[in-house]
Amino acid sequence: MSDKLSRRDFLKLAGVGAASTAVLTGCGPASRSVKREPYMQMPEYTYNGLSTYYATTCRECAAGCGLVVRTSQGRAIKTEGNANNPLNLGKTCARGQATLHGLYNPDRVTDPIKRTRGNASGDIVTWENATQIVADALKNNKPEEIAFLMGMAPDHLFDLVADLANSTGINAPVRFGALNMFESRATLSKAAENLFGEAGLPFFDVGGAQVVFSFGANFLETWLSPVSYTRGFAGLREGQTKKRGTFVQFESRMSSTAGKADEWMPLRPGTEALVALAIGRLASELRGGSMPRAFADVDPLEAASKSGIKLETLEHLAEMFANSTGALAIPGGTALGQSNGLAVAEAVLALNAIADNFGKPGGVFFSALAPNQTEYQRSASVKEMQEFVQQMADGKFKVLFVHGLNPIFELPASLDFKNALKNVEQVISFATFPDETALESDYVFPDHHGLESWGYQRVATGSAQPVLSGAQPVVSPFYNTRATADVLIAAAQLASGKFAEALPFQDEVEFLQSKISPLMSEADGFFSAADIDTFAAYFQQYGGWWKLSDGRAVPNSADVLNRSLSSAEAEFAGEGEFFFVPFVSPTLAEAGANKPWLQELPDPTTTVMWNTWVEINPVTAEELGLKDDDVVTITSEAGVLEVPVYRYPAIRPDTIAIPFGQGHTAYGRYATALDENGKIIKRGVNPTDLLGQHFNEAGDLAFAGMKVNIKKTGKKQLLSRLESIMGVYGVGLGEEK
């Protein structure tokens, strides 16, 4: 397929040829400067000027939303959601829309490169050499000296590497992603294991609920599966029962999710478990009957005083929760990224037991496992990554393959991945973009962009049905890149022996077919076919395969309330004065910074574009003598950052917050900035630089468990805001607030 779709540049100039329009428009076409190249071979069903639509899967995050991409003359023009895909039902988020700016990004890695580490330029090598280098790396090192570090997408490549590792004895691939770090997936699944006796990713049916209490879960932004949860939120508001559902958010900083809440509870960071249990106790009291053991030990008065939420408010919330026929409590986000994160997750999940909503509409489920999955697989927690980095630093690995991940940027700087990398003899990156990690690698063998790739992605959560989203190339590769799966298969063949046996495939497509062929025999599918070719064709055509039935499991709730739950407050690291809340930028997330239109999207809460800011309550700012755009130094035990101030009216005065997503030193021209001398500098800052190595009981990073200090620098840096600071905040109108 990808080879047949030849001439990408049928029109040398884009169909609308911006550049060639004569200055004197109105004077007719400037046809003399235009040349057209016809297709060598016109693909079937293609006509000049008519669009062709291909179903594929979005690779901007790991959720696995289905896309339909409009292509014209072999160029991808627009992405839309795949209406058939049960996960996103035809919808996309902003990042899914902007994925084309990744495909046609001017800063992609265009060829396989050999480079001296840290050097921006490098020598182009041929793909034959590249494959040989990979083969040698596999063959010439001991299995335990080979490590794979992979991102959350795509799953098919992970499966391929896992298969390779399984049968050759090399280290199992490690998966990580900054989004998962901020989602604390390990904590969620551990809490589920503790409460329900089974590990898994809970699914919260927001759309079916009447009252939703969210403890830090930013499910309208980047959390787990934002498109599907946003649809759920719309369901909550519009209500199946035609009654508008209520939504309460508990967190110290009003996220854009909390902005949609009917009530925002700015509790003191670290008291989430206490508050959840207190609400549980008060609600249980209202319900009558014996007090469950889970809530027995908590004192609502203490909860009120420690959290800063008034007792009356807690009572009112408890009443709301207890009296609703469809109450739902969701733990997530910053609430879990604290030293007591596991306790918070357990306490909040336990609240659901009062509502008795397990396995009911509007309640808690286990997410449906994807069709070719037998058990929940979670990514590495930061604790596990810490061990991995330690092994690197100890020189345990001779060769490291990195794909789909930019650990230098995404891991907290205190883990010092960059330094540990120095003790790995050979680093081979498969990065599509020249990110920080690719810059510190010996080789970059660029993978295709997601829209040029084959593959599939398991939908981990968000859909009631088990879904395997399928990917196919919608355009032929724009540059001299090659699918990493193809490179690995070819290298395994070259390495021969057990490697060749482990991956006995012609190419990536054959491997994919081998992986989806078991689905042919599964019942209840969206489609079925007798032979693999037809099945694979449908798989491409519809953008994946999914069952028609609900695949969610009901958690075993028998024991939830009969256990003692900890109401301990979180401990905070560092001597600082302020609680520090890093949060994922809803528009950029971990990998959006190189897409110009994502940079130009205003942040939903602050409307800032193209930069990083620190949110400080105006009262605190006044005390510190800070105005908007004043640059402050923020110091934690792990690091220092300089960042301009945004006086944010909806954050606790003892808390500050910085979005994660910027602060790149590489990753293309839009992710970085230029100083006056034309030198590449950081655009914005990366808040993970401030994070120390503190974990919760489940091994997730206590990213919201730091305390920091703020100091004014006297410098100013104007933040680009879409909003008017005069119109929205009344600043500069003559009546200072």
Binding site: E80, E600, N617
Partner: protein
């Protein structure tokens, strides 16, 4: 030939295409903004210009604050785009007829190639939804490969604004005509409405009482912004709650 006296004024009608926006479920996620930019070849302008009020968004999501901490509330997100007024104040002030009222589609047209850049229309737009090409904003190769061939790429000195994705309207009409039928309700929609994960935006024929958008619009307590100016906007907002 059309005699001037035969021209129908838009006050006589209810408009043709319209939108309903449910602010209660709009999460402010910016998917519509990104979708609009991708569909309509909108330039990005960079940090300095965007911070100076020159961003080219055809749709922007407004939010304000009510109250003070801790009783502070974010007002419902309000996506603002061209309201396709039936009696648009931008139209009569253009000396070149570059922005006029389409009789066929009852839309407020911006004819880029006729625009000479007086920017009077933008001044006179009470919704402030027009954006001006202050420069030839750079889109380095190969970014232009993504351009939508159905939408003109604008250059410096030209005003632009939301068109209700008129290219999609034409495409749907062309398709329906080639199949010998009328355009069906929901057969196509604008880029913003198509992307919106919460389905907060509904687009369709407001002159067809059976259409979804008409039914939503007549649900009650919907607001048309600055209606008091007599602009006859075609976008209805529901603040919700």
């Amino acid at each position: 030939m059309i005699k001037p006296e035969e021209i129908k004024m838009s006050t006589d009608e209810s408009g043709k295409w319209g939108m309903v926006i449910d602010q209660d479920i709009c999460t402010g996620c910016q998917a519509c903004v990104a979708a609009c930019a991708m569909e309509n070849n909108i330039s990005f302008v960079g940090e300095a210009d965007s911070g100076y009020g020159r961003s080219m968004h055809w749709i922007r999501i407004e939010r304000f604050w009510e109250g003070e901490y801790p009783e502070v509330k974010m007002t419902p997100n309000q996506p603002m785009m061209c309201q396709q007024c039936g009696s648009a104040t931008c139209e009569p002030v253009c000396p070149a007829f570059a922005t006029i009222h389409s009789q066929a589609e009852q839309l407020n047209l911006q004819v880029y190639n006729r625009c000479i850049g007086t920017r009077y229309c933008a001044n006179n737009c009470p919704y402030q939804v027009r954006s001006f090409n202050w420069r030839d904003y750079e889109r380095p190769e190969p970014l232009p490969n993504q351009f939508n061939p159905d939408v003109t790429v604008r250059r410096r000195g030209v005003m632009e604004k939301c068109t209700f994705c008129i290219q999609r309207i034409h495409k749907a009409q062309d398709k329906a005509k080639s199949e010998g039928r009328e355009v069906l309700d929901g057969e196509f929609t604008t880029a913003c409405a198509q992307a919106c994960p919460a389905s907060a935006i509904t687009f369709g024929r407001v002159d067809d009482p059976e259409s979804l958008v008409s039914q939503l619009a007549h649900r009650g307590h919907g607001v048309k912004h600055l209606e008091e100016l007599g602009t006859l906007p075609n976008v209805t907002y529901f603040k919700g709650g």
